[in-house]
């Protein structure tokens, strides 16, 4: 990491720590962090491995249910509920990934979409999801059984800590020996194979990490908003995370974060427009694809490099 990047990360961390005290609305901030983590996890696949999953909501949403159920029905402490959601999503990711990495390109996307639709309909039918109502008033509980998270600011710092951990895992993965192989697979899969790398195994591990962290994001979301619902596992959610990542800049480290923040902000502050929000988001996406295909962060990085 060079000096400028360190300063940038440091400044962002300070902003995140100070946000609730300078007028940031904690529920909104938590939502941004949850979706940012979701998008960063998704970006590990599309941006650094070259795999377009069109079913990532199944990990996000299922983990929200796992975590919500564990906190509500079993009374687990929040950190354990999040761990459970993460592991559950990672295990699902193993099976889904095992099936999906055998196919490439659009077929890979279709396999993930089909499986996520199966998960959606299981969630509609299953007894513990609350079907149309969802799991409501999920308790936040006490961190380690000691510190109550009922206060939004306290909860915000818990979410921030978990987010930072997840973000670090992604950063580490990208900048690791494993990450180097992932990038080579993204760049030229047959060549990586011909150098002796079992590309399917590398893709599978990347898929499991991505699914687990998407689950971590979903679990956090269930706790902070007190709700796990069918929206979280729907295909629209899978589409939204694609949108966030592309808008922010896929294959960049901060892009998905910025993309998620932009989309959540739009959804929040434009909610007065009703269903027009979807249209506005659609137009934003079209403009993004036409005018700055690299995404916000990607475009900035490109301009800086060209200078």
């Amino acid at each position: 990491m060079d000096k400028r990047t360190k300063i940038l990360y440091g400044a962002l961390l300070l902003v995140a720590l100070a946000a609730p005290f300078v007028g940031g609305y904690p529920i909104f901030l938590m939502k941004v962090l949850c979706f940012a983590l979701f998008a960063c996890a998704f970006n590990l696949l599309i941006g650094f491995t070259g795999l377009l999953s069109f079913g990532h909501a199944m990990f996000f949403g299922s983990a929200a249910y796992f975590c919500g159920h564990a906190a509500k029905a079993w009374g687990l402490t929040p950190e354990l509920a999040v761990v459970l959601g993460t592991l559950g999503a990672a295990i699902m990711g193993y099976f889904v990934g095992w099936l999906a990495v055998r196919r490439q390109g659009i077929y890979f996307a279709m396999v993930t979409l089909a499986l996520s639709q199966m998960v959606y309909f299981i969630c509609v039918q299953a007894p513990f999801t609350g079907a149309e109502d969802g799991l409501q008033s999920v308790p936040r509980g006490k961190l380690l059984g000691l510190i109550s998270l009922r206060d939004d600011t306290a909860m915000y710092y818990f979410v921030l800590a978990v987010f930072l951990f997840g973000f670090y895992v992604i950063y580490r993965t990208i900048h690791s020996p494993f990450g180097q192989v992932l990038k080579s697979i993204r760049e030229n899969e047959p060549r990586a194979l011909s150098l002796g790398y079992d590309v399917d195994k590398y893709k599978l591990l990347a898929f499991v990490i991505s699914a687990g962290l998407a689950g971590m994001a979903g679990a956090l979301k269930a706790l902070s908003l007190g709700l796990a619902s069918l929206t979280d596992v729907s295909w629209q959610m899978s589409g939204e995370v694609v949108l966030m990542t592309l808008l922010g800049g896929m294959g960049t480290i901060l892009g998905p974060f910025l993309g998620a923040a932009t989309i959540i902000t739009m959804q929040n502050y434009l909610s007065g427009f009703g269903s027009w929000v979807t249209v506005i988001m659609g137009i934003t996406f079209v403009v993004c694809v036409l005018a700055f295909r690299r995404g916000i962060v990607g475009e900035i990085a490109y301009r800086l490099k060209a200078k």
Binding site: S176, P177, F178, K183, S184, S194, G196, L205
Partner: protein, 254 residues
Amino acid sequence: MSADYILETQHLTKAFRGFTAVDGVNLQIVRGSIHALIGPNGAGKTTVFNLLTKFLPVTSGRIVYNGHDITSEAPAQIARRGVIRSFQISAVFPHLTVMENVRVALQRKLGTSFHFWKSDASLAHLNDRAMQLLGEVDLESFADTETVSLPYGRKRALEIATTLAVDPELMLLDEPTQGMGHEDVGRVVELIRKVSANRTVLMVEHNMSVVANLCNTITVLARGSVLAEGPYAEVSKNAQVLEAYVGSSEMEAL
């Protein structure tokens, strides 16, 4: 199995729905030689490469490498045995730097390629070896360049450096000089000659002056079968070979 042969195929056959692309090919590659596979377009040369590296499954026949039957092994397994191929179009990792291209190949032997919790600083000790390999193909000064911006000839040189990084026993080169300007061809020929010391090279090549200049043995394929085999002087006078090439531009070089 004679120990002189590094690679042998027995009745190697590949059929695609009623079309037999490769038909009972028996190849014997002598260890330490440079062996060319030539033939008119559609003769099945690249298909043979894909079969040898298992990018395509074999319909029937056997492939024996260093005395092991590798017919049913996976592509990555074959690569790890030391059979490394190149591709017709240049096979580089375009958005990695030139140095990273070579280092990705070097890092496999460390056995840490699944370690996602480790810093990539743990790969830094490979940089010297990577620079050395880049030096062999005159690319040191490009080490930090993003590969996509290299000229075509340089990309092919990088590809050879990357292949050398995994220290292959048998290199399969698919048209290494295709699409190159005159000076680049000369450079690549010298490079192949240099790297073929202590190695075996099997190459598909259309440029007959390259083949004449470089290769010990030539196998001519036509319609999926071996038409002739032998040193250049012999093969180039073979009546059947001349006939197979009639009207095709490659023959003008013969």
